[in-house]
Amino acid sequence: MYDKQPLPRVQDVMTRDVISIAPDLTVRQAKDLMRDKGISGMPVVDRENALLGVISVADIIQAMENNNLNAFVSEVMTVNPIFLHEQDTVGYALQACRRYKYGRFPVIDEQAKVVGVLTVGDIVTRLAQLLRIDQVDEPDEIKEPKDFTTRIYECSIQSMNFDLAGLAASNIKKMLTGLGLKGTTVRRAAIAAYDAEMNVVIHAYEGKLSAKVTPHDITITVEDSGPGIKDVSLAMQPGYSTASDRIREMGFGAGMGLPNIKKSADEFTIESTPKGTTLVIKIFID
């Protein structure tokens, strides 16, 4: 496994100092508490601190409109709220933020007790810290660009090393996603990089993958040190494969690698001699 550091979990990021309210207090009391604490929502919990619901400014405004400030919190709260587990990854929490369009989630432990609240702000603050730590512990292979608009990534590829196979493509995907490129563009680049990377792992002695990203295009260059492709035009035919049975057992060798790369690319060149093969894959960014 190449992930040296564990993924940040919700419990690493959340606010533990939870302001919550009991269901049998009134909406007026909830309103005063939220105003006092300067918060826009909070979990509703029972005496055992188990999650019953959430109450937000929107619920309170609605109660005010209905002249219902003396109602119990339990009458106006949102029941069955979306919550997170403390063991959830921050990535999962971000997905939840996007999916449900909420800015705040109660966090529960294994006994379904509320142990924290997670806001988008918590994630941003703590992730900034975590990322800085990452850079110290695990030097990123992305070089600091001279020109801030260009990114370069390089990675060596080892023959028959299936533990690391896919790492370069995965890193390129992360980098492109981080630059905010369109999903379809990222995917095309990731697929082309992955197929090219697997070709080196399966067929070559060793190789190098580099990716250069400018605001206009992505150029992925994959070079290996041989033994080369005997008949390139044959290798470009869908379904043609020289992979061994062992490789096929692992799910590769469908003979779709090069055709796939060509399909993903806007421009594609391949040169092969017994000393090595070089692929240049270009994808335009619109």
Binding site: Y92, G166, G251, M256
Partner: protein, 116 residues
């Protein structure tokens, strides 16, 4: 169709902590060859496969699959489960073989979307 409906149709078991079961799925891809999977260009896809190794999860990550369904009662190793959890890719396992799994999902309304 959602992942939880797929789970029901295939009487599947979820092997990852997050199943994101309300995730919308538009179509499926049934393949045992990863290059075939990589050639599949549709969004919101689940993969049905009898192939069981970590590269399946790596491939799923590269093309943003919604989930991976291992067919024919095959059970993933802890290494595969760990990788899937790290990449937030749900894993379902069903006892149905590939042909039946695909047929059941197709019959339940998970069709093929036309190529864009």
């Amino acid at each position: 169709m959602t992942l939880s409906e797929i789970k029901k149709v295939l009487e599947a078991t979820c092997f990852t902590r997050h199943c994101l079961e309300d995730k919308e799925v538009d179509t499926a891809c049934g393949a045992d060859l990863l290059s075939d999977v990589l050639a599949h260009r549709k969004e919101k896809t689940v993969l049905l496969t009898g192939l069981i190794n970590p590269q399946v999860i790596r491939t799923a990550e590269i093309i943003d699959l919604i989930g991976v369904i291992f067919v024919r009662g095959k059970v993933p190793s802890q290494e595969i489960i760990d990788l899937a959890e790290a990449k937030d890719i749900p894993i379902l396992c069903t006892a149905y073989p590939m042909y039946e799994s695909c047929g059941l999902l197709y019959k339940a309304g998970l069709g093929v979307i036309s190529n864009v």
